[in-house]
Symmetry: C2
Subunit: 481 residues, 2 copies
């Protein structure tokens, strides 16, 4: 099959030179042509660092124009971008930098100064801007089979695994979304989720494949969000539950504007009272299920079904399939997914890949069932994944840190419902000796990103285990309700 097409940004600059690619809350705009030219200039500067086809370049940045230009520039150089989560600790970042074999690290100055990473080739965006432009041949076509981005996700096993997305994964994800949500000339998609996660990055990809304006809210705050929806003609917004909640409070009694046609909710379940308020205000809330491995949403519940199918994540997007592996009497089993937006494997992990892919089906590790109409219900996230304010927390990773503390014998981390964050991590600990809660939490904070640290430690005599000696996390969660 012919798998190539013109370079996405170049093509949009040709099709819609004067259309805004980016619009900021303060009214500034940048057209597709200007974005292309800025990205090309940056690519020519980056070329001084010997970045070429397949070079792995890490980016450590909060959402910013520099980050967007760098993503496109690295695409023009056919590099593989390794996205780093800015909230990770120095230790976590170094692990990913080494594991990914990144040759170069690009970043926001304040972050590079803060993290003080022992990584040789690191450059701030300002460093790059000061370079001269090197004459190099920039990519004119995109090959859907080529790798484009990499993001680390921890998963069941605790240690982070690199998820590689090809251009084709991103393309089919964007197309799956457009066939579900439709597309209008005047569409403007609000981007405030971090682009180092696939939920944020995928909005940038949709912009450049659809020729659609991104409303770029670099720093999130609810007042700006409301203004974007009410005054700035944003039509689609990707949000996490916390933002929706704050938005509801901010709106109060005001009616919701009709031109907003989709509020796409990702990142875990939404508390029913919040959903109820949103539906009563006739907000077009679309729930979705997805993960880094599926290049963002792969199952989506249209707003039309939100009352009829309460608790469902919806149906798989047009090019995707979902099935339940080995269902129990209640129909519950592991959720398997398939489709051209599903990644092909973790970076350099043949053994893990063999386990998670069977007959082309990716085993998500999540539990769920399909109802009689084929709507998916996610019962439990993989290995009791905790989703807190849109960030994934893998209990096993936190447990390993806890158990490294003197006097801790066993530890189990579970999510506790939280009105603000959706969930927060709480630890159950079996201690050999007396341990101070504060000291233990502080110990964790120094090792891993602070959002992963337990908010609370509950000391117990033993952990509930099943016959095969596995910790029964659901039993623990019940104690918290």
């Amino acid at each position: 099959m012919y798998t190539k097409m013109p370079h996405w940004l170049t093509k949009q600059a040709y099709l819609h030179p004067e259309k805004p690619a980016l619009e900021w809350p303060d009214g500034r705009k940048l057209t597709f042509l200007e974005l292309k030219e800025a990205s090309e200039r940056l690519a020519k500067k980056l070329a001084n660092l010997s970045i070429g086809k397949g070079t792995r370049v890490a980016i450590l940045s909060r959402n910013s124009f520099d980050m967007i230009a760098a993503i496109h520039a690295l695409s023009y150089l056919e590099a593989l971008i390794v996205f780093l989560n800015v909230r990770l600790t120095e230790r976590e970042l170094m692990y990913q930098l080494e594991k990914s074999k990144a040759k170069i690290l690009l970043g926001e100055r304040s972050l590079l100064e803060e993290k003080r990473l022992a990584f040789p080739k690191q450059y701030t965006f300002e460093d790059i801007h000061s370079l001269s432009e090197k004459e190099v041949r920039l990519a004119e076509v995109i090959d859907l089979t080529a790798p484009f981005t990499m993001m680390y996700t921890s998963g069941t096993t605790g240690f982070p695994k690199g998820v590689i997305h090809t251009y084709g994964n991103h393309w089919f994800s964007a197309i799956g979304s457009v066939l579900n949500l439709g597309l209008d000339d005047d569409d403007k998609w609000l981007l405030t989720l971090p682009m180092f996660h696939v939920g944020g990055l995928s909005i940038l990809i949709r912009s450049v494949t659809y020729g659609m304006t991104v409303f770029f809210m670099e720093k999130y705050d609810v007042k700006t969000l409301k203004e974007a929806l009410y005054e700035k003609k944003v039509t689609v917004a990707s949000l996490v539950t916390l933002m929706l909640q704050q938005l509801l409070d901010e709106i109060g009694e005001e009616p919701f504007p009709e031109h907003v046609r989709c509020l796409l909710l990702g990142g875990g379940g939404i508390p029913e009272p919040v959903l109820e308020r949103a539906v009563q205000k006739q907000m077009p809330v679309f729930l979705s299920y997805g993960m880094t491995e599926t290049s963002s949403q792969i199952v989506t519940l249209s707003a039309a079904y939100i009352r009829k199918k309460i608790g469902s994540a919806g149906k798989p997007l047009f090019p995707a399939s979902v099935k339940i592996d080995n269902p129990d009497e209640a129909g519950i089993g592991e959720i398997l997914v398939k489709g051209p937006m599903v990644f092909h494997g973790y970076d350099e992990m043949p053994d893990v890949n063999e386990q998670v892919f069977k007959d082309g089906w990716f085993h998500t590790g999540d539990l769920g069932y399909l109802d009689e109409d084929g709507f998916l219900y996610v019962v439990d996230r993989r290995s009791d994944l905790i989703i807190s304010g849109g960030e994934n927390i893998y209990p096993s990773e936190v447990e390993q840190v806890l158990m490294a503390y003197p006097g801790v014998k066993e530890a189990a981390v579970v999510g506790k419902r939280d009105a603000c964050w959706g969930e927060v991590p709480v630890a159950f600990v079996v201690a050999k000796d007396a341990i101070a809660e504060d000291a233990l939490i502080e110990f964790v904070r120094r090792k891993i990103a602070s959002y992963k640290a337990p908010r609370e430690i509950i000391f117990v005599d033993r952990l509930p285990r099943n016959a095969s000696n596995k910790i029964m996390r659901r039993r623990l969660k019940e104690q918290l309700d």
Copy 2:
């Protein structure tokens, strides 16, 4: 790359079971679920004829529900459909049936009776309906790399050649169109062009990939067309120039309905006066350029540019590229196209394929140029080029001048052999009123270089056109020999 996805019709029946897949002018509707079930039943009946993966099955039919169900049914059996043009003579049809190695011929009863083809395995749709259903495994997935349809090109260059379309060609054609035209939940696309041509078939493909209703006007007439646009909430219609012309006459002074967002014009250039009337009525006319080999439109001019870029065919769709080969001083050269909707080659014609594909670019044989903004202007079919005394004459340029003369309804210019000049241009003209030959020639001479003016005008009642409404210039040339 993973190139599979769920079977399109099965998926739409799952996503939108109750949404109409088809709607008829008399108000009848058929949902995606009903269409799937009807197609599955037909597939199980067809299975009695030993149709399996790759079996070549020809269809000879005017637009009908039987034809639609047969297309989907053959897709469930993974057959390769050979579409036959119902206007062909018995001899032409036999040539294509033999050349295509079709094993089975399915058709409309009246056509099979009329054509009396000496082909052994021919069945009317009624024959198939009377069979019992055989239990076979129907395709659950579509592989984009698999061949799906074959059509013989009208053959401007001579003998008919079989164009094979893969599922991927059709998929990327549909996606290229949606990224250009957008997509709305309420979209309803009028289908009245014959499905044995790619212009008609592509509407069926869009329906089943977008989950969009087709307004199915099996027999074209202008009153029903007007009613569809005005009363039946059709939002998009694919038309040829003649239909647009008749529509304009039918509408008269009535305003054009706002919910119609696209009238897609294919099948050759449009006379400027017609376009002018349409634009004055604020009809959203999209001009396009494409051919069987590109799986329908590959270059489209958005309505927004219709005044600014008069005469242009527009810009290539998102996944496609166009370039001009070997341009002359005026920038005119052969139009080359590339992209995942472009076919991979003519059936069993390795020599021709080697000629028409170079570095992945398909050489269309058409002449054109790109203006400074990258808009394509199609100057002429290469085979129609008239070369007179070393000067190039492009018939369409002369025809446009002729049609600007009061009383001229249609005009076609072809080359006549000339002992002195090689060729000289001669015009065939359909006149509404009596026209003096001398005066008309003089009119042209004053508009364009005199060597381009016809030496002779032949007044005729009508111009010979093929099924896609293209003027058959060779028929005219033959009259001159």
